[in-house]
């Protein structure tokens, strides 16, 4: 695997110190119905080689955030404010040609549905070889050999022949493997995986998740793993960021967020998720209501219309004041730290069975 080792020049030291640093990001889309505030004041950091799991339901802004990192949003209808720093380089204002050099090279993406995310018109080998040629200047032949090597690495049997096949000739799991090969072909420092296993069957999902974990150890990439499935995130991530209605509402290590969650929304997610080991006598405890419209998000805490703990805060803070998310281990909720701890231990944990 000598081809994989990149010149390991010392990373450019940045002010933030983090490899990727997102600061107060706002993304809004212009639509016929008005402005959709898809991401609203999001900040987070990611260190080299670590896996950040972003969990949230549809419309939480988790996918938009990550398209914005690579500048893949449509600039005509989208307004982006805030900072995205990758090794100190500002990406929100970077020129398209600068971003092109990063995409697929330093930062790669894996999408949800590998059938629609791969072009039906070109062979799998060609689609993997393309970014390698572009970013390393390799010859057609060398890039093709590299594509075959990568296909072998992600577990495509008989990669030499299969590289000549088109995506529709691959099975679902194989396609996602090819997608992973394509993402890793330039040995990226950051891999953004947007619901990479949601379209797959559960036994195939387990293979792909383990494959990603093992490949990460070998390639040393940092991963941003986006999913709606807490089980998947528990399996994959070092750190977790929970998103709701365009913002992060809780952040911490995987252990912290799953075993001592602090935000009522996180409690709700855990309580509404059926598990293989949960107590069957207790019914699932869903979060009432539905996620808010981002055209006209609720005032104050975005979660307050669905929150059952408002009275513990008292007053009108929840409806008036938007709680902030402190750096590191934190949750954006007006409950006091003591309240969060005791409510979880006394009221939430027992019902989790």
């Amino acid at each position: 695997m000598t081809t994989l080792t990149k010149e390991t020049g010392a990373p450019v030291p940045s002010d933030a110190g983090a490899f990727l640093s997102v600061r107060d990001l706002h993304v809004s889309f212009r639509t016929e119905d008005g402005m959709v505030r898809a991401v609203d004041g999001l900040s987070f950091d990611l260190e080299r080689g670590r896996t950040l799991g972003i969990v949230g339901e549809s419309g939480s802004g988790k996918s938009v955030t990550n398209l914005t990192i690579l500048g893949l949003h449509n600039p005509k209808f989208t307004t982006v404010e805030g900072e995205i720093l990758l090794e100190g380089q500002e990406l929100t204002t970077a020129r398209e040609s600068e971003l092109e050099k990063l995409r697929g090279n330093k930062v790669a993406m894996i999408f949800q549905d590998p059938l629609t995310a791969l072009s039906p018109y070109y062979t799998v080998g060609r689609q993997i070889a393309e970014p390698f040629m572009k970013h390393t200047g390799a010859s057609k032949k060398a890039a093709w050999d590299r594509a075959v090597e990568m296909l072998g690495k992600v577990g495509i049997p008989n990669p030499k022949e299969r590289a000549k096949d088109y995506p529709h000739q691959f099975s679902g799991g194989m396609r996602q493997r090819a997608m992973i090969a394509m993402a890793l072909v330039c040995d990226p420092d950051l891999l953004i995986a947007d619901e990479p296993t949601t379209a797959l069957d559960v036994t195939v999902q387990a293979q792909i998740l383990d494959l990603l974990k093992d490949l990460q150890q070998e390639f040393g990439s940092a991963i941003i793993f986006i999913t709606h499935d807490l089980g998947v995130i528990a399996d994959m991530a070092d750190d977790i960021m929970v998103m709701y209605a365009g913002g992060a509402i809780e952040r911490g290590t995987t252990n912290e967020v799953l075993r001592a969650p602090q935000h009522p929304y996180t409690w709700g997610l855990l309580n509404s998720m059926p598990r293989l080991d949960s107590d069957l006598a207790a019914p699932l405890a869903p979060i009432p209501g539905a996620p808010p419209s981002l055209l006209n998000p609720p005032s104050g805490c975005r979660f307050h219309p669905r929150c059952t703990f408002q009275d513990r805060v008292g007053g009108t803070r929840c409806t008036d004041e938007r709680p902030l998310l402190a750096p590191d281990r934190a949750s954006a909720c007006h409950l006091t730290a003591d309240q969060k701890r005791t409510i979880f231990i006394e009221e939430i944990k027992p019902s989790l069975g």
Partner: protein, 326 residues
């Protein structure tokens, strides 16, 4: 894939045979007697019987059909006008010419008209459509879109005379449309057809501008196009290698339909510019109840349409491996 095409060709052949049967029965099985028309006002029963005999109309319908069908394959020698080599559609009642050679006489004009116009409208239409899609939302896009809306609502019988009036009769920039075979004088061929080409392609190009634009914009929103961008391919590469390929499918579908109608004879165009092509031949054959000629024009057009369909299918297979490999 080859099997698929072979099956299409076989199927088209079957359709053609069935069409021949239906058309023949419709034309020659009709109660109206074509001989009456030829016999004229001073018709006597003897003369009528004579015409019946020479036209072969005194035989039974199945017999007539069999003679017609075998004539298509082997040619016929039973006409008083002389031998008729295969494919023999017989002789025109009206002009006494061989139907097939009449068709072949008119074909080069129709072909020239269709080919020239197609090259022009594809070039202009796809070019402007792609440019509009590339610069989506810009002034260029908006003006192209508006212009194509206006032009595609025009009709040949409006735009044609208008072009003639301005460019030929008033300013004398161009000559009056006229057909010279390309083999005789390429320059005259070109100048003689330039106005019909321009008018035809203006109207068609406007449709292709709109189609290319919308189909490109649709393709640019495909997930695989986003993937291509996400792996760092340049905007131009993604546009021409990824989006363009997929947007060809609807364009080729419409092109197939347009081509077959152009090749089958652009009746209005030919009339507008006074050009004697297949379209006019069709109208003439109807006017004179010239059954052999009408049958010939009809079957020829049908064959062209079926051929265009097969070519379109082959194009699909060439563009899309999912069609080719299944």
């Amino acid at each position: 894939m080859l099997r698929f095409l072979l099956r299409r060709i076989l199927g088209s052949f079957v359709i053609l045979v069935l069409l021949t049967v239906v058309a023949f029965l419709l034309f020659f099985g009709m109660p109206r007697d074509p001989a009456l028309l030829m016999c004229g006002k001073t018709c006597t029963p003897d003369a009528l019987a004579n015409i019946h005999h020479t036209l072969g109309l005194d035989k039974s319908i199945p017999e007539q059909f069999w003679i017609f069908l075998s004539g298509l394959v082997t040619g016929r020698n039973d006409f008083e006008q002389g031998p008729c080599p295969a494919p023999c559609f017989g002789y025109s009642y009206h002009t006494n010419e061989q139907v097939w050679s009449t068709l072949m006489d008119r074909l080069p004009l129709t072909l020239s008209l269709a080919a020239g116009a197609t090259v022009a409208f594809l070039f202009v239409g796809l070019g402007t459509g792609l440019l509009a899609a590339w610069k989506r939302g810009s002034f260029v896009d908006k003006s192209f879109t508006a212009g194509s809306m206006v032009l595609s609502s025009m009709q040949i019988y409006f735009l044609g005379p208008l072009a003639l009036a301005i460019l030929v009769y008033q300013t004398h920039i161009f000559e009056e449309p006229d057909y010279t075979p390309i083999t005789d004088n390429p320059a005259a061929w070109f100048t003689g057809l330039i106005i019909p080409w321009a008018v035809l392609s203006t109207i068609f190009a406007a449709q292709y501008t709109r189609m290319a634009r919308s189909s490109m914009i649709e393709q640019l929103q495909e997930e695989h196009v986003r993937t291509a961008r996400a792996k760092g391919m340049s905007g131009r590469y993604v546009f021409f290698r990824y989006a363009w390929r997929g947007s060809l499918i609807p364009i080729i579908t419409i092109l197939g339909i347009d081509l077959s109608s152009l090749l089958g004879g652009a009746i209005i165009t030919e009339y507008t510019f006074g050009l004697p092509g297949l379209g006019r031949l069709a109208v003439e054959s109807v006017q004179f109840s010239d059954l052999p000629l009408l049958l010939g024009v009809m079957l020829f057009s049908a064959a062209v349409i079926l051929l265009c369909n097969i070519v379109v299918d082959a194009c699909y297979a060439f563009i899309d491996p999912r069609v080719r490999l299944s």
